[in-house]
């Protein structure tokens, strides 16, 4: 048994320690957000956050994740009460098939938690490990920009970071 902290909750998982986090999230914990895309860290569909950093869950074994904070898209909000990035993606209609989107949102979340005033160039650079095949890139960029503004407006202090 391994105890993982997922979206603020301790979760007991009966899995081989070598199992990549992605399979534990999807198969054991029945969380749909993180997606299998390539299994080798080339596409970003599986992106989740660990201790505030975006990681490829398809190549991260659960054995290295004890006592670390795992956050998935399910931890950002719900369909009735979406978080700022989720809301922005709906408002910008930033999906076609949407398979890559949860990974995009998690990588953007990691960026905006560190730098809510990230410039468009920084957003592009940050999202570059994540692939989208439908060509929704422009909308994804707009959605992340919109969420950044929303997060800045609701935050009380921290506005340091580069000029957009």
């Amino acid at each position: 048994m391994i105890t993982l902290n997922v979206n603020g909750q301790p979760r007991q998982v009966d899995a081989d320690p070598a199992t990549p986090l992605l399979y534990v999230l999807r198969d054991h914990l029945e969380l749909n957000g993180a997606k299998f895309g390539c299994g080798v860290g080339q596409c970003g569909a599986c992106t989740v956050m660990v201790d505030g950093e975006a990681i490829f869950s398809c190549i991260t074994p659960v054995s290295v994740l004890r006592d670390r904070q795992i956050k998935t898209i399910e931890g950002l909000g719900t369909i009735d009460n979406p978080g700022p990035l989720q809301r922005a993606f709906i408002e910008e209609q930033a999906a076609q098939c949407g398979y890559c989107i949860a990974g995009m949102i998690m990588r953007a979340q990691a960026l905006l938690e560190k730098n809510p005033s990230a410039s468009e160039a920084e957003i592009r650079e940050t999202l570059s490990p994540n692939l989208c095949r439908c060509g929704t890139h422009m909308r994804i960029l707009r959605a992340v920009g919109r969420a950044a503004r929303a997060m800045q407006n609701t935050s009380t202090g921290n506005t340091k970071g580069s000029d957009p």
């Binding site: 198969d27 749909n32 709906i90 076609q96 570059s128 095949r133 439908c134 060509g135 929704t136 422009m138």
Partner: protein
């Protein structure tokens, strides 16, 4: 949510009939008939004329629309959501014509037990076929409801109005649709003409409605077949042969058999699969089996650098699909050019997946196939089951962009579930399988020849295209990858060309321009060096790339402006509109040339039947590296009546970016034995770092005009526009796709 036990043996007819349904006869429908006589002046011939859209094949209204006693509305479509937003557009159309709230409509998509058979969701046909059927069925159901209300109120139907799911009389009386139908079904044959609403009164069609599927997709909902979890479900993986034609020589299953969670290893000829309790256990066991298996491989693939020559050398069936030449030798200045396009892949981000359950002699397959009915036929043939014992239910997958491995994964789930009855089996392909085993878009070669007269008018136009088939979709079991591997294999039937006017390899080979003398030849090459099938827009991508590149070459020779030479040869007013709109909004006339930059233009009407698209790009070419990037893109599109303008914009933006990816980077690589494009490093695609600064799409709405297929319309114009802009920036014409940095650098000779 999904009842896996819902027996596949229940026929669709039985399902539709429900319990104790009443048949509404025409005697109850004075309003409908009356309306048609009075309002449309429909003569008998017209009433019997062809039904609109897919009503032709499924003429009963309750195949499309059901209203329950509680007033809830269910709309059925045989088409599938592929991420193109079609569910939302269908609900808009139904809500508009029925006058019910958008949120009250429940849409059921492709399911062999529940929905009409509309073949494949392909060819940008969904709005034309299913959207048109739903629109007309909804209008006719509304008129039936008005007729029923007229009887109940004993009032003339023309003194009734419909609003928000109710029929209202002037005196204040009102009846909800649910009360009017009282649970009976509107089992009525559709009429040829419908009393459609005046587009000027539309309240939801033409509006940028938010898509119904996006909230679930951004919050971790069960949005894809990949997310489907059924009670007792197990996981499977397939051990794919390492190369086409490989034969399994030996495999020791001992080690894999003993691995944790492994439930069963299946071997049937060259087909190997493993089932385990947990997904990663299945992956681990599959890897162990792949190591344990030894294969006899032989070189079956052609030399990659000889592929275009080979395609021209192979036997072909040659058809002149257009010949209007009356004046041979017209024109004074003759030009000729040859264009090439390599094998390219669909490259879905999520590898294909399916879930299947075999129980009580019946099989249910949840699949992201584009055609649940054809897949059912193929699976039934493969498993030697009657088709009625197989049910295929569509669930979304990762975007497919044509015939990817969706059907093959469905066949895998069926084969494995058939060998492991009683528990649902989920199988997902690995990245390497998807890359190496999906059917690719075919390599193609075209030759264009034209003569200009002294006024810069094309006096003679000759064009030839060599291509494999663009459809090896099931239907026949032999088209399923795994069915070819079985001990008793199924062999693919000989391919046949998709006829004009839609065409396959010759799709859009006939230019929409008015050229005085034209001859177009399609060389259909049946023999397939690599497995190929439908990739978004089929041959249109290559033919439009060729034609629109060549038109620019002719413009240059004639000293004409690229936009002006297109208008010079174009009569269709809607085509002229998109060309002029894209040019104006791009700022074509006032464009200021800058070193290292260039502008390009291209136009096509998809299939010469669908949406009109014109695009203009500004590109930057780095002389040192040959790297091309698109700075900005402008598009104008006419899709007929725009149901969801934002959906159209999304499709065109996406088409531009996907086609840019194909056209800048993508080419499937192979050696004599194996496909060597195995992942995203050996088959790179567009990343954010190379995305344009901006893309603008202007939608020209045509209220009241037929819907025109849009989903594939940007692919061809984008490729040509890119090449034209690179030619403008560098002075060098590149006629072979993709325009990789290496190719551009070599061409400009730096």
């Amino acid at each position: 949510m999904i009842d896996p036990v819902a027996a596949a043996s229940v026929s669709r007819r039985h399902f539709l009939a429900g319990g104790g349904a009443l048949i509404v006869s025409f005697s109850l429908l004075p309003r409908l008939l009356c309306a048609q006589e009075n309002d449309r002046n429909a003569d008998a011939e017209q009433a019997k004329g062809p039904l609109p859209g897919s009503l032709k094949d499924e003429p009963m209204l309750d195949s499309w629309i059901r209203i329950d006693a509680d007033g809830s509305v269910i709309v059925f479509t045989g088409k599938a959501e592929l991420g193109q937003g079609i569910k939302t557009a269908f609900i808009q159309v139904a809500a508009e014509e029925l006058s019910v709230d958008f949120n009250r409509i429940n849409l059921i998509t492709a399911d062999t037990q529940r929905t009409p058979n509309e073949g494949y969701t392909a060819g940008s046909h969904s709005m034309q076929d299913s959207g048109t059927a739903i629109m007309n069925a909804a209008a006719q159901v509304r008129e039936i409801l008005v007729g029923l209300a007229a009887r109940r109120f004993d009032i003339s139907a023309d003194r009734l109005t419909v609003q928000n799911g109710e029929v209202r009389a002037e005196d204040g009386r009102r009846l909800g649709y649910g009360e009017l139908v009282g649970g009976q079904q509107l089992h009525v044959r559709a009429q040829a003409s419908s009393k459609l609403k005046d587009p000027r009164t539309h309240s939801i069609v033409g509006k940028p409605v938010e898509r119904v599927d996006i909230p679930g997709k951004v919050t971790g909902g069960v949005s894809y077949v990949q997310d489907l979890r059924l009670p007792g479900m197990v996981h499977a993986r397939v051990v794919r042969p390492p190369s086409p034609g490989a034969r399994l020589a030996m495999m020791d299953t001992g080690a894999a058999d003993k691995m944790p969670g492994v439930l069963k290893i299946i071997r049937d000829g060259n087909y190997i699969a493993v089932i385990a309790e947990r997904e990663f256990q299945a992956v681990t066991a599959m890897r162990a089996l792949a190591t344990a298996a030894s294969w006899e491989e032989r070189p079956t693939l052609p030399a990659q650098d000889d592929i275009y020559s080979l395609i021209q050398r192979l036997p072909s069936q040659d058809t002149a699909i257009l010949d209007t030449r009356t004046m041979l030798g017209a024109g004074t200045r003759t030009m000729e050019a040859t264009y090439r396009r390599p094998y390219q892949m669909h490259g879905s981000i999520g590898p294909s997946c399916a879930v299947a359950l075999f129980r009580d002699g019946a099989l249910t397959v949840w699949t992201h196939s584009q055609g649940v009915y054809p897949l059912r036929k193929a699976i039934a043939e493969m498993l030697r089951l009657p088709a009625e014992r197989v049910r295929c239910v569509h669930m979304e997958g990762s975007g497919c962009y044509g015939h990817n491995a969706a059907d093959d994964a469905g066949a895998d789930a069926a084969l494995i579930a058939n060998a492991f009855p009683g528990r649902p089996v989920r199988v997902q392909w690995m990245r390497e399988e998807e890359h190496t085993s999906e059917p690719y878009g075919p390599a193609m070669i075209t030759k264009a020849r034209a003569a200009l007269d002294g006024d810069g008018i094309v006096a003679d136009w000759q064009y030839e295209v060599w291509s494999n088939t663009h459809s090896t979709r099931p239907g026949p079991a032999g088209y399923l990858a795994s069915a070819q591997l079985l001990q008793t294999p199924f062999t693919p039937p000989p391919p046949t060309p998709i006829p004009q006017p839609e065409g396959g390899g010759d799709r859009n080979a006939i230019p929409l321009y008015k050229f005085r003398n034209a001859r177009i030849v399609h060389h259909f090459v049946p023999s397939m060096p690599l497995r190929v099938s439908a990739l978004r827009s089929l041959g249109a991508y290559m033919n439009i790339f060729s034609i629109e590149s060549f038109v620019d070459e002719l413009a240059k020779a004639a000293g004409a402006d690229p936009v002006e030479i297109r208008l010079r040869h174009m009569e269709d007013p809607r085509a002229r509109d998109v060309i002029r709109t894209a040019a104006e909004r791009f700022g074509w006339a006032a464009y200021q040339p800058r070193k290292g930059r260039g502008r390009g233009f291209a136009f096509a009407r998809y299939k010469n039947l669908g949406a009109y698209v014109a695009v203009a790009f500004e590109v930057e070419v780095e002389g040192e590296s040959g790297r091309v990037s698109v700075a900005r893109a402008m598009a104008a599109v006419d899709s007929g009546q725009a149901v969801n303008p934002d959906g159209i914009r999304n499709q065109i933006e996406g088409g531009i970016l996907q086609s840019l990816s194909w056209s800048l980077y993508e080419s499937v690589t192979f050696d004599s034995m194996r496909i060597t494009s195995r992942d995203w490093s050996s088959y790179p695609i567009l990343r954010f770092s190379a995305v344009p600064e901006r893309i603008d799409v202007h939608v020209i709405d045509r209220p009241g005009q037929p819907f025109l297929g849009t989903g594939e319309a940007a692919q061809g114009p984008t490729a040509a526009c890119l090449a034209n802009a690179v030619a403008d920036a560098t002075g060098v014409r590149i006629r072979e796709l993709p325009l990789t940095s290496k190719r551009v650098k070599a061409a400009i000779g730096v």
